[in-house]
Amino acid sequence: MRHNGALALAFHATFVTFILAPIVVVCAVAFTPEGYLSLPTKGFSLRWFKAILNYPEFLRAFRDSLWLAALSSTIAIGLAVPAALAIARYRFPGREAMTALFLSPLMIPHVVLGIAFLRFFSQIGLSGSFLGLILSHIIVVLPFALRLVLAASYGIDQRIEHAAISLGANSFVTFRRVTLPLIMPGVVSGWVLAFINSFDEVTMTVFIASPSTTTLPVRLFLYIQDNIDPLVTSISASLILMTAVLMIVLDRLFGLDRLFLGSAKS
């Protein structure tokens, strides 16, 4: 194991600063006592964190968002893994067309998708249902899952799979016990990206969400229609905190590193 040099660490520090800068700003603003966004803030107050409690619909939307993101990203990864293996392993006619189709949701402005789905769902009677929401989210997050699994599927030593087969494993067992662990880094990062994108999607969801099941970003989006106040930032800050806590717990339980990178890495 070699170490990062000074130059690398300097680069890393700059990168992290770049990534964190706006987040830190958002978090700092969350503690303002003022009724509006201001920086630098003069005082310190938890007023906007307490304000979250006045909006039970945010909490409900948060829960719905979690469910939606978890379900759609899990289903998407379930569809993406075999598809990615097909694309990585085989050369067949229509391979590129298929890849393009799978990636197309990335390339259509989400407002167009939103309206197309709204029209489509209202014709097949799925309008406003949670199922419709899940289906549409599967579509928009699948490309992420697919691309990352694809990146991990190239270059796997197939002889390792052959070894499993020679020991009597059928295709499914070989996949579950050997191939999947080998591409695990891609699968986990693919799932995470899918989750995050579903959790954060708003432009499309505004059209398909029903009044009774709405996601947190849609709620926030509608909330800030006429007024951006520090509530947005305090909710964001709480999200960051929750994510951090969740990740730390996961890290303690499983090791984040292992989760992302597979256990085989030294």
Partner: protein
């Protein structure tokens, strides 16, 4: 199984007020559950268009411009006659009788009082102030596809003798004199707010209701009616043609113009009442076009505007927003 009626209108503080104070009594009285479908006016129109022929929404409340469009596109059904409509100012009634105004705000100028004081600038008084070079990159105007934007262009045209029927002077003014001052053409209230809050913008063309909401957060925002006159912006309701809950929908629109609801909307959303029987105390009037103030407002002829809208939009995006 309880009946569910879908009501589509603005999100944000308006939604809060409607959910808390307006919907519950109606639900109790009519035994119906109301689902609030939030979105701004154009979102709502888009949803109507998407579900054409299979409408889910029963009642909408949108800006008057989009309301005219909704009527024109045939989304709105006829309003059934009712006593309460007699009390409504005739000016907010639609000739087609497919929609009716439920609130009135004014388009005028909003500025940051604190910033003006720091710069020792006098408060703006006229639409012509938009051309003042000292506001370079500090002015925000909503774009033409937004109702406030339409008002701004018409007001600018009026300064040089134009109007709805002769918009040319408006475009000229925006291209040559106002344009350089404009920091952004910003339709989103949220972003408008943000630009004011972080100090980049100090003056804007905006609605009285929005200004009131912003001022209520404690921000030093001040609204002025320009001396040439503010412009009236109505908020209109209509029932959706083909609604499965037409009875309740009709009742809901009637309910919206009833004095008790009008009062609530004045308080929480800064809507000037359209029902003549509503009286507001001087304190309640603050920031709301009401009484004499309301009479100075200039109305826009939407039929003319909508006729030219397509061309204007094109010109706007190509000549002004570049």
């Amino acid at each position: 199984q309880q009946k569910v009626m879908y009501f589509a209108s603005y999100g944000g503080s308006f939604e809060q007020a409607v959910r808390k104070e307006i919907i519950p009594p109606f639900e109790a009285k009519h035994g119906v559950k109301i689902e609030y479908v939030a979105g701004n006016s154009t979102d709502t129109l888009a949803k109507l268009q998407a579900q054409r022929g299979n409408q889910q929404i029963d009642v909408i409340v949108v800006d008057d411009g989009p309301a005219y469009q909704a009527v024109a596109l045939g989304f709105c059904g006829d309003l059934e006659p009712a006593d309460v409509y007699k009390d409504v100012y005739p000016i907010v009634k639609f000739k087609s009788n497919k929609a009716i105004g439920v609130g009135l705000v004014a388009t005028g100028l909003m500025y940051n009082k604190k910033a003006f004081e720091e710069n020792k600038w006098p408060a703006p008084t006229s639409w012509a102030d938009l051309k003042d070079p000292k506001y370079k990159k500090k002015l925000v105007v909503p774009p033409l596809n937004n109702t406030y934007g339409v008002h701004a262009v018409i007001a600018a045209a009026a300064l040089n003798g134009g109007g709805e029927t002769n918009i040319e002077p408006g475009f000229q003014a925006f291209k040559n004199e106002i344009g350089p001052n404009v920091l952004a053409y910003e339709p989103s209230p949220a972003k408008m707010t943000e630009l004011f809050q972080n100090g980049q913008a100090v003056i804007a063309v905006w609605g009285s209701g929005r200004a009131k909401v912003l001022a209520d957060t404690g921000f030093p925002a001040e609204f002025v009616y320009p001396k040439e006159g503010g412009i009236a912006l109505g908020t209109a309701a209509c029932t959706i043609a083909g609604s499965k809950n037409n009875k309740e929908a009709q009742a809901f629109v009637q309910y919206l113009v009833s004095p008790e609801v009008q009062r609530v909307m004045a308080k929480s959303a800064g809507f000037g009442p359209v029902n003549q029987t509503v009286t507001l105390s001087p304190d309640e009037q603050k920031g709301i076009p009401y009484g004499e103030q309301a009479k100075t407002l200039r109305a826009v002829d939407w039929d003319v505007v909508n006729q030219h809208r397509e061309d204007w939009n094109k010109r706007w995006t190509r000549e002004v927003e570049r």
